[in-house]
């Protein structure tokens, strides 16, 4: 017999093994276990996506909120809006020239209102019963030029 015949016999025998084993494979339980793992991956992936989307939405909302805050009036101007004031009324030294005038808020006796011909409103709190708020224009020389009276907006309808 030739060597090639021997080789052919071996090849045939090996092919027979391959055919015989063609149906062999891992047990069904392995695929079930692996598919469960794939499902876990899918769930984790969806969860990650939700977290990412929520985080992105939070960032966008935060950015929008910060942007909107820039266009809102500041707290101090809000407070100012919540107040009602009279016009500035000239005082004795109003005619004295001054280069630098500042507004100073003071609590003055309620009688001061009467002195300017204004009707004092009913006090909101007992503590402020004897005084009212007033903005006084004071020059750099220390002389008061004008005064206006201030009160919370809740009392607006009572302000003369």
């Amino acid at each position: 017999m030739k060597e090639s015949d021997g080789r052919r016999s071996l090849d045939t025998a090996l092919r027979a093994i391959a055919e015989d084993e063609a149906q062999l494979g891992a047990s069904v339980g392995i695929e079930v276990r692996l598919l469960a793992e794939v499902r876990n991956i899918a769930v984790a992936r969806r969860r990650r996506m939700v977290i990412v989307v929520c985080a992105a939405a939070a960032v966008v909302l935060l950015a929008l909120w910060i942007g909107s805050q820039r266009f809102l009036p500041s707290r101090s101007s809000e407070a100012r809006v919540a107040e009602v004031t009279t016009d500035f009324m000239p005082l004795a030294y109003s005619s004295v020239p001054s280069t630098n005038v500042q507004v100073v808020r003071l609590a003055v006796p309620r009688a001061a209102l009467v002195a300017f011909g204004l009707t004092p409103p009913e006090p909101l709190e007992r503590a402020s019963a004897d005084t009212v708020l007033a903005d006084v224009l004071v020059g750099d020389d220390g002389l008061a030029r004008a005064v206006r009276f201030v009160r919370p907006a809740a009392d607006q309808e009572q302000m003369p």
Binding site: M1, A16, A42
Partner: protein, 190 residues
């Protein structure tokens, strides 16, 4: 099998696509199972298949396609697991390329044709099983899995020439072993 489709199945499997994973598993589990059984025994088949595909799923951060074919990539992982199991039993021998044994025994080997199919399969399977792992691996991949030499070289991480040399040596060893089997069977008949 369509390599592009295989790569897509692999990528979608890593993203948790059950359908893609089922298809990928259906295509390759049997081959990996048989490779593992030949290398480590029947009890290892299921474990190696499971560990191989778990390793694939564990690389879900990877979005790149494997450098080699998907089959080569999967068998490469399976081989890594098999080598871990074999431990020190897997010792690459020097590939001498000595084919003389086959010449001596090739005459006796043709007598395999006289055995029944069942006897042939049992005899050859036993002979394959008795090969040193490094040669058995070449026979299992190239002859039983019908993997191309280039693909087998990718899995075995060696040059194609080394694959050819190991396969040649393995076949020569098989011829020797099978000639002894034939002699026994022949003596029994007489």
């Amino acid at each position: 099998m369509n390599e592009v489709e295989d790569a897509q199945l692999l990528e979608r499997s890593r993203r948790g696509d059950e359908g893609a994973f089922s298809e990928l598993y259906r295509r390759y589990q049997a081959g990996i199972y048989r490779y593992a059984v030949h290398m480590c025994g029947t009890s290892a088949g299921d474990d190696v298949v499971q560990e191989t595909f778990l390793a694939v799923l564990g690389q879900r951060g990877r979005t790149d396609a494997p450098r080699q074919t998907v089959a080569g990539y999967l068998f490469g992982i399976a081989r890594h697991i098999v080598l871990q199991r074999l431990g020190s039993k897997y010792e690459p021998f020097t590939d001498s390329g000595d084919d003389d044994i086959s010449e001596v025994a090739s005459g006796a080997l043709t007598a395999l044709d006289n055995l029944t199919r069942t006897e042939t399969i049992a005899a050859v399977r036993a002979a394959v099983q008795s090969l040193p792992p490094v040669y058995r691996e070449a026979v299992v991949l190239c002859d039983l899995q019908e993997m191309e030499y280039a693909a087998a070289a990718g899995v075995l991480q060696c040059p194609i020439g080394t694959v050819r040399s190991r396969l040649s040596r393995a076949r020569a060893l098989l011829v020797t072993k099978l000639s002894a089997v034939y002699a026994t069977a022949d003596a029994r008949r007489q």
